[in-house]
Amino acid sequence: MTKSSSAGDQAAVGRAELAAPRAALSEAGKRRTDSDAGIDDSEETIREALHPDIHDPIIDVASLSLWYGEKQALFDISMAISKNKVTSLIGPSGCGKSTLLRCFNRLNDLIGTVRIDGDVFFEGESILGPDMDVHLLRKRIGMVFQKSNPFPKSIYENVAYGCRLQGISSTAELDLIVERSLRDAALWDEVKDRLHDNALGLSGGQQQRLCIARAIAVEPEVILYDEPCSALDPIATSRIEALMRTLTKDYTQVIVTHNLQQAGRVSDYTAFLYLGELIEYGPTEQMFVDPRRKRTEYYLTGRFG
């Protein structure tokens, strides 16, 4: 009986924590502050938590705010992403991780109602500015989606498609690219005898690795992953994590994940978002061992979110 009552206590605490930000949200027009949630971090802690030392940044997010119609989804986010490192974005569902990720390759352009303030720089060039050619940008910044989305074509054509878009049409060259990409994505051995079968005949995990092969076939500089393993079993997940580790020497990778262990395993830096705000950003190890801010600590210890 003692055990169960203590569990009840803990649940009660969790509920109280959750209720606070909701109450804050309902106050029309009022921006949430940490004090609303009953969490007080000093100015200095906040500055420290948001400005880690980033060497050699490749993507620089500068005061980015985003609205879906009237609804604001991202609040004044600033962060730099380190080259040839893995950065993970974590946070509760609906906090804006996917939204932020899709700003990096301007996939939000496809949604008519999106309005963006601030900017993102990729190697010093404004991504959102009028001079950016979005098709070149998306070639240089590839993306793997949460739900695997191979084209209803052959495995070969899926991987070759990006290269065909870039004007590569020689079969010999494409053969090489397809094989190398599939090897990199740890899929080659499973599909080498059925390259011309429809990709939709693959299993979910294989389809996801095919999407990764398709993304790396065009040799992007950055790969964005949006919960790439959410539909995969532990074995497929570990293969993809291993793949990410081997890719670190050549690629900058940003991964959205709900799996904290995964973030801990694969990433060098971790950013924690909460209700559209960047709460803490820093080296993964430091964040997991010694989070600067209370809300991060609560999230990592499973006390809310």
Binding site: S4, N105, L107, L110, G112, H135, L136, L137, R138, K139, G142, M143, F145, K147, N149, P150, F151, P152, Y161, G162, L165, Q166, N198, L200, C211, R214, A215, V218
Partner: protein, 434 residues
């Protein structure tokens, strides 16, 4: 923790659920019975329609013919022996079959009786002989066995569509003619033959000579024009509205108008075609080109609406995947969206074309209701269309046109079924799972 606090709602007890289950199953069965009844009714109507049309129409594919031994008499055809085409064309070919017929019926000695006797044979018989000679002038001076068509009245009696037991005044064939016919039949000179003319001739005032080919070709040319115009225009419009159009009042207005156009009576499109294509642009009357243009106007809304629905149904994840690799909007549409939407687009197109194929009213307005004997050779030749031909034949007083009408409907149905089969085939080819 607190077991007593959890009480099961009485409606959720297993016994209560079981008790209700019987009622639910009964309702389920009743619902299914309604559905089956609806399908059954539709199938029954269809069967009735088919049986009616086929039973009335199948005899049109046969035609009564009478056997003649024709001597291609040079005295009649080519008295000068010059084989001059003009001379050959003007000869009295009717004499070629009338003389042996007269010889076989010695009792026929008055002019009125002779006329009565001649009416056993189609008035097109002379043309048949003329064509034979024109194709092969060497026939002149030789004897040949030739099957000449019986007149449509005789044909109707032979086929039993007109009862020979009617009082003489009420039937088109006199007692004397019946006797001659029976006499010929007894000698094995009367036969029902495959009616090839039905598929190779244009319209004719003589039912036994009338064929469907001119109308069929008119429909084919019209449909080609309609398809060539409405498919690309409709798909392009749908792609623009679905993929590129901004959301503003103008686009809303266009959308509403397209949806309304789909419900405009077709005769209005005919009037529009008359005013615009014939009177303003001065295009030829009765031409499949104009028919196709008018039917394009009518078909476009159907294709646009169906194509938009098909485009909307393409999963956004496919677009995102392609955009994510750096594809341009045109590449995304061309490589992924259109192929994925193609089954739906094709279905809409075929439905639109099938509607257009059966359309009569707008064609009447632009003159495609003319009496067309010659098979049209191109898009600007005067032509009619299958449904108009059906309308014309159904409106003709001769009894023999009844079976022609049904036969023409059968040809139209075969055309439709072929189009639908094509649609199914194309859909299968493009269909993909996600």
């Amino acid at each position: 923790m607190n077991k007593q606090a959890r009480t099961v709602h009485p409606a959720l007890h297993t016994q209560a659920v079981v008790a209700r289950l019987r009622k639910r199953h009964r309702r389920e069965r009743r619902f299914r019975a309604y559905c089956i009844a609806a399908v059954g009714f539709a199938v029954l109507c269809l069967i009735f329609l088919f049986v009616d049309i086929i039973s009335k129409g199948y005899t049109a594919f046969q035609q009564t013919a009478i056997r003649f031994e024709i001597f291609f008499d040079p005295e009649i055809i080519d008295p000068d022996g010059e084989r001059d085409a003009e001379m050959l064309a003007e000869a009295d070919y009717a004499a070629l079959w009338r003389q042996p017929l007269l010889r076989a019926h010695g009792e026929v000695n008055t002019r009125a009786l002779r006329r009565e006797l001649y009416r056993l044979v189609s008035s097109g018989a002379a043309f048949q002989l003329q064509r034979m000679v024109a194709n092969d002038p060497d026939l002149i001076g030789h004897k040949r066995t030739v099957w000449l068509l019986a007149s449509d009245e005789v044909d109707m009696v032979v086929k039993g569509h007109v009862s020979r037991h009617l009082p003489e005044a009420e039937r088109p064939v006199s007692d004397r003619q019946l006797a001659w016919l029976d006499n010929l039949a007894a000698q094995g000179l009367v036969e029902q033959q495959l009616n090839r003319r039905f598929f190779t001739n244009g319209d004719s005032r003589e039912p036994e000579e009338a064929g469907i080919l001119a109308a069929l070709m008119g429909s084919v040319y019209t449909m080609v024009v309609t398809l060539m115009l409405s498919f690309p225009l409709g798909v392009a419009t749908a792609v623009y509205l679905e993929e590129f159009a901004p959301t503003n009042r103008w686009i809303d207005l266009i959308e509403v108008n397209i949806n309304n156009l789909a419900a405009v009576p077709s005769i209005v499109f005919g009037l529009l075609g008359l005013a615009v294509f014939l009177n303003f642009f001065d295009l030829p009357r009765s031409a499949p080109l104009v028919g196709g243009l008018v039917l394009t106007l009518m078909t476009l809304p159907t294709i646009i609406i169906a194509s938009r629905a098909a485009l909307k149904a393409v999963p956004p994840s496919i677009r995102e995947a392609a955009y994510g690799l750096g594809a341009t909007p045109m590449q995304v549409i061309q490589h992924h969206v259109l192929p994925a939407a193609m089954p739906g687009i094709l279905t809409g197109t075929i439905i639109g074309l099938a509607q257009a194929l059966g359309e009569t009213a707008p064609l009447l307005m632009i003159g495609m209701v003319a009496f067309i004997v010659d098979v049209p050779q191109g898009f600007t030749d005067p032509a009619t269309a299958l449904p108009v031909q059906i309308f014309l034949w159904a409106d003709s007083p001769e009894r023999a046109f009844v079976e022609k009408t049904s036969a023409a409907i059968m040809v139209l149905l075969v055309f439709l079924i072929a189009m639908n089969a094509l649609a199914v085939y194309l859909r299968r080819r493009w269909e993909q799972r996600w």
